[in-house]
């Protein structure tokens, strides 16, 4: 249960991260807008409440493993890590530029403390399955029935990448071997590059599909911190299966002009649009509304 104070803290942090996303995208001149804004709340909750991690010691052996499967939403990944203290916020402006650690899609040769490189879709969940499996092998004794593992593997993935066969291969294996230390979060924002998911390649009934593959399924409102937190606590307590949290998010969340419009999947705002977006975010903040007016 999150306190009111914690929720206010998370809301403010998510808003700061959204501002950083807009600032870095306009500076980069290319990149994805809708997904990063839509996932800002979930990233914030993870890096400021859920994850067992240490930004000063990123390879801490006791950390949870975090896999970003849909690497194209990396602006929110980078912005959240910067705000959490992994590297200076200033560095965000190097996104996609020559010599940057913040590659257009995450690459662990440049940013060694991320768990994997990603970009090509559909491969992240299987890697998370491998990590969860390796951690299980490392446990000398299985935790007692009803108990749980102390370390979790979290995989963030998009709904669009469920078009990929590799995703379902990973889903099938995790169900077979009952990886209760694996929690997948699907960004169910209903859009992909060419349009709405249900027009491009229908995914529904999505929850039923995961259930049929022997996963525990939780559907949750993706911008409600309290509900998200409860969903994750429930997922952590499930012993006999892996869990997927289907988080219903709004692509472009926070900037009404960008929301629910698939055209914002793969392009950055121009300077005017960025100015407008930052004003919107500041308005929601309710504090420095007049700065650009």
């Amino acid at each position: 249960m999150l306190t009111e104070e914690k929720i206010l803290f998370l809301e403010k942090k998510a808003n700061d991260i959204r501002k950083s996303i807009i600032e870095m995208l306009v500076e980069a001149g290319s990149g994805h807008t809708a997904g990063p804004l839509g996932m800002a709340d979930i990233f914030t909750l993870f890096y400021f409440h859920i994850l067992k991690h240490d930004p000063q010691n990123p390879t801490w052996p006791e950390r949870d493993h975090f896999v970003l499967s849909n690497g194209h939403i990396c602006p929110v990944f980078y912005a959240t890590m910067a705000h959490a203290g992994y590297f200076p916020i200033e560095e965000l402006k190097t996104l996609r530029k020559f010599g940057t650690r913040l590659q257009g899609h995450p690459h662990r040769e440049y940013l060694p403390f991320i768990e994997t490189s990603s970009g090509p879709l559909g491969a992240g969940l299987s890697q998370a399955v491998g990590m969860a499996l390796a951690e299980k092998i490392n446990l000398e004794v299985e935790p007692p029935l009803g108990g749980s593992t102390s370390k979790f593997v979290y995989c963030f993935m998009s709904d669009g990448e469920l078009d990929e066969g590799n995703s379902w291969e990973g889903i099938m294996l995790a169900g077979k071997i009952k990886l209760n230390n694996l929690i997948a979060i699907v960004d169910r924002n209903n859009i992909q590059i060419d349009g709405f998911t249900e027009n491009i390649m229908p995914l529904e009934p999505l929850a039923d599909k995961w259930r049929a593959f022997n996963w525990h399924v939780i559907e949750v409102a993706g911008h409600n911190f309290q509900a998200l937190n409860e969903a994750i606590e429930e997922a952590q307590a499930i012993y006999e299966k892996p869990t997927v949290i289907i988080a219903h998010t709004i692509p472009g969340k926070g900037v009404p002009e960008f929301e629910k419009d698939y055209h914002w999947h793969g392009k950055p705002p121009n300077k005017e649009e960025a100015k407008m977006a930052l004003e919107r975010l500041r308005t929601l903040d309710g504090k420095i509304k007049s700065e650009h007016q």
Binding site: H65, V67, H107, R108, E109, E115, T116, S117, S118, G119, P120, G122, A123, S126, Q127, A128, V129, G130, M131, A132, L133, A134, E135, I137, N138, G165, N166, E169, G170, M172, L173, I177
Partner: protein, 331 residues
């Protein structure tokens, strides 16, 4: 003569020469690697006995993962396990891994630089009766083009065993190419194997060689038979086993080119982008030399016995001899 320094199998020209599938050596090597290091794990895509992983699976059931017929998952799960400190060997037929899952290997293993060992069994034309769909002739190309990955193609079961044990210790991604058929045992337990080193298996009894034969994989035996017959015709050759295609022993290749009039490369693979191409890249840049390429010439295979197919596609002993003579006839 056989290089006396390498302790090769002295029964190599006998009729009762022992023949063992190269993949079997992998199975034994994997078991040994698993005994030596508890971080070694094995993953298979519904071909456990075929790829000889059953020795490991029986001894270490907790460290063996049956993935099912899902080669994309095979390598991506392996990548995730490597991220947590495991040394995964993942096996299937070469046609399916790396044939089907190349991008996953590129992104999650090579690009990530994770020490996953991709084991492609049943490579080459000698898979035989299964036909062209299962005869992987493009895997050396697919793997040697990727940064970070070592590519090893052993000549017999004993070398496959040594290669497997060595690969478990490199901390790097690798591709291990294996064949299905029984293959003559050329080496012994004492024959040296080192990743990145070529070995001269056959050399003239006296004097320098006129032509250098560079061979990889199961055709090594045929190359040695060709060399023996050429010696009787007073043609002096060296046969170099290039089981380590990447990293490549450039020094040995250049020295062989300097000693001889030219090079013949021999592999059960498309001529395009294979081991011979790797040799040509070394020589074109360092010591331009005439080269004849023995391999499959821009064609797919078909059903037949391994011997029929090797002969039909021009990779047999006589083809190797002709290529050597062609080098000698070149200016």
């Amino acid at each position: 003569m056989l290089n006396p320094n390498l302790k090769l199998n002295t029964k190599i020209f006998n009729n009762d020469l022992e023949q063992v599938p190269i993949r079997k050596g992998f199975g034994q090597g994997l078991l040994k690697a698993g005994e030596e290091n508890e971080n070694v794990v094995a993953l298979c895509a519904d071909l456990t006995e075929s790829t000889q992983m059953h020795f490991f699976a029986e001894k270490f059931p907790k460290r063996f993962i049956e993935i099912g017929v899902a080669e994309q998952n095979l390598v991506t799960v392996a990548s995730g396990m490597a991220a947590v400190g495991k040394i995964p060997f993942c096996s299937s037929y070469a046609m399916f891994s790396p044939g089907r899952n190349w991008e996953q290997i590129r992104t999650t293993i090579a690009y990530n630089d994770r020490p996953v060992k991709i084991v492609g069994s049943h490579a080459g034309i000698s898979v035989g009766p299964d036909g062209g769909t299962h005869q992987m002739l493009e895997d050396i190309a697919l793997m040697r083009v990727l940064p970070n990955i070592d590519v090893i193609s052993p000549c017999d079961a004993i070398e496959a065993k040594k290669a497997t044990i060595a690969l478990a210790k490199t901390g790097k991604p690798a591709y291990l190419r294996l064949a299905r058929e029984k293959t003559p045992i050329i080496t012994t337990e004492e024959t040296p194997f080192e990743i990145g080193k070529a070995q001269t298996y056959w050399m003239p009894s006296i004097g320098l060689a006129q032509v250098g034969i560079i061979v990889t994989g199961g055709l090594t035996y045929r190359a040695i038979l060709a060399a023996q017959e050429l010696e009787k015709e007073n043609i002096k050759v060296k046969v170099v086993n290039l089981s380590s295609i990447k990293p490549i022993d450039a020094e040995a290749i250049i020295n062989l080119a300097k000693e001889t009039k030219g090079i013949v490369t021999v592999e059960e693979h498309q001529i395009a982008c294979g081991m011979g191409s790797a040799v040509a890249e070394v020589l074109a840049q360092n010591y331009p030399t005439p080269i004849e390429f023995i391999g499959v010439k821009n064609k797919f295979g078909q059903s037949g016995t391994p011997d029929e197919l090797v002969e039909h596609y021009g990779m047999g002993k006589n083809s190797i001899k002709q290529a050597v003579k062609k080098i000698l006839a070149r200016k």
